[in-house]
Amino acid sequence: MSDGNLAPGRDGRRFDFEALIHEEKVHRSLYTDPDIFALELTRVFGATWVYLAHESQIPKPFDFFQTKLGLRPIIVTRDGKNEIHALYNRCTHRGATVCRQAKGSTRSFRCPYHGWTYSISGELAGVPWREGYARDHKEEGQFNLAQVPRVESYRGFIFGTLNLEAAPLIEHLAGVRKPIDDWLDRHPGGKVAVCEANRMKFKGNWKLAYDNSADGYHVIFSHRSLLMMENRFSPDDEKGMSFYKQHPDDGPIRVHYYGNGHHFKDKRPTLANHPGAMWQIEGKHPGMEGYEAELREKYGDDADFYLDLAAGIPMNINVFPNLLILGNHIQVLEPLSYTETATTWYGTAVVDEENELNGAVDAINALRMRTQEQFPLFGEVDDLTNFEEIQVGLGAEEDPWVYMDRGLGLPDRFTEKDGVITGPATDEVFMREYMKHYKKLMMANPTLSISRGGSD
């Protein structure tokens, strides 16, 4: 291959991603090399659409919420005209952050260091003692806060990219929009609201979490303690994720790969076909019996529909590189370093502005908060430990390959229709496919840019 296809690292290093990423295996350096991580911060977290925040986190004009685009500190804001911006939280004067609150509402951001002030949409609004400058910074757009030049939402999910050449978000999401639509449309008004989170981090590369996101192979091993716990009252083992226990590849669960790194594991076909079926397989959570009895008494048969809204829907929708919708959670991956990742499991609440639920929404949410907390507390912690132990294992330089070949080469294992590849529950096809996309991104070198707002 020509040198032009090699990606640069520090001190003249070049990375040959063709040699590091094969169909059946990838090289440890993808997880252990700080130079590759540095490259990801532009070629992935920059050059492609990255999830930033949910619109319910900035519901009103002048609301803001702090997030990251890779390692860039970002303030997502809603201006007075309801337009959403992703501002760099970096004073254009000397670089200090201008916003130090995680979230809130404000008309302006004033830098605590020298008092430069910016509007909610990032325009420079004031420079103290400006007669001490030979220029008027406000006349020059370049002193507005930098902002992500392209910010687009899909049904409440806000994404941003620094790549002006990227396809529109809606095209980029492609087939994964369908499961996102299904996930939203079971709620009144087709929407949810974010309501705090289970917040964790692990000492491992962010891709370890993405590799796991549709992995049906680990469930009964990594989550063995949770499965035992969920079923300690049910001899028939029907609760929670127990459908993985009996030859899951012969069952109805499928994993779908949509391109651009996005995939979806659909566990809905395991559900019985009647209202209340999701509630029926929920584990035991605080308040279940008390609330259920009240809902049944008050609403009769409708209670099953309401209880299903309190239950986690068995869907894992993974939007590359950092948005993982699973059950009722919106899980966000945030790379902190090549070997540290934050994973925030935002809970979602049902919003019922039109009272379609006849007053049941508060009871549904009281149950739904508890159903959402169980997996992070008693399931995810075990996965995160396994991710950390992978990172330890990958310290072995002479044994460099990580395999993702489950299913590869078996006849009649996959179908491909309209560009969507479908395979059985425990297949690693989604890893192989997303790694192909990752490789393409890491070998491309698009121009990244910022905007200064206004007429830019």
């Binding site: 309501c195 705090e196 989170a197 289970n198 917040r199 981090k201 605080p286 008390g290 809970g347 995160l384």
Partner: protein, 197 residues
């Protein structure tokens, strides 16, 4: 139809909207200095209970720890510093009696990889203050804790204050009606939050 009283280890009938309402209410505005108890017997009893609880947890004696709680109880670690209403927001943890037992059950399966090997912990409990409530047999106990966890070759701190709502029993001890653990970093991303607080 007459039914047997529900066993809170098996079903969760008592966590109702009314229960949450009362819980949120009794955990607001309880720490009025005018309500401090100066009864040394009560103070000593509170201290003994907290020390015993810390010891059981440090020793991994989870069944004994569970026995310190009333049959119908709540264990609440808010996920936001303002505490919030657990009906409307995700908490760091909210357990009823059954889920406390779930927690212990899981740890004892031998397959809870996040606690394999189990963390070693060492808890310091101090600044104990007992507040009276409008029920003569119920008290709110505020205490600071500083727990060091030894996990995976490293020491790390867990710091905050706990609020125990306790009821005096006939035998002259306290049973925990509800325990609220307020971590000073409750709203941050925390590595492996699987240790019991």
């Amino acid at each position: 139809m007459v039914t047997a009283p529900a066993n809170p280890s098996e079903t969760s009938h008592y966590i109702t909207d009314a229960y949450y309402t009362d819980l949120v209410k009794v955990f607001a505005d309880w720490d009025d200095s005018a309500q401090l108890s100066h009864d040394t017997v009560v103070q000593q009893r509170a201290q003994a209970m907290l020390y015993q609880e810390a010891r059981y947890l440090d020793q991994g004696k989870f069944k004994e720890w569970l026995d310190l709680f009333a049959p119908e109880c709540a264990y609440w670690i808010p996920g936001s510093w303002e505490r919030g209403d657990p009906r409307r927001e995700i908490t760091f943890a909210f357990h009823d009696r059954r889920q406390l037992e779930d927690r212990v059950y899981r740890l004892e399966t031998g397959y809870a990889w996040s606690q394999h090997p189990a963390s070693r912990t060492n808890r310091l409990v101090s600044n104990i203050e007992v507040f009276q409530t409008n029920r003569s047999d119920v008290f709110m106990i505020r205490s600071n804790f500083n727990m060091t966890e030894f996990l995976n070759g490293e020491l790390r701190p867990w710091v905050g204050y706990a609020v125990h709502r306790v009821q005096q029993t006939g035998e002259g001890t306290f049973k925990i009606l509800a325990k609220q653990v307020n971590l000073i970093n409750c709203d941050q991303n925390i590595r492996n939050p699987s240790v019991t607080l």
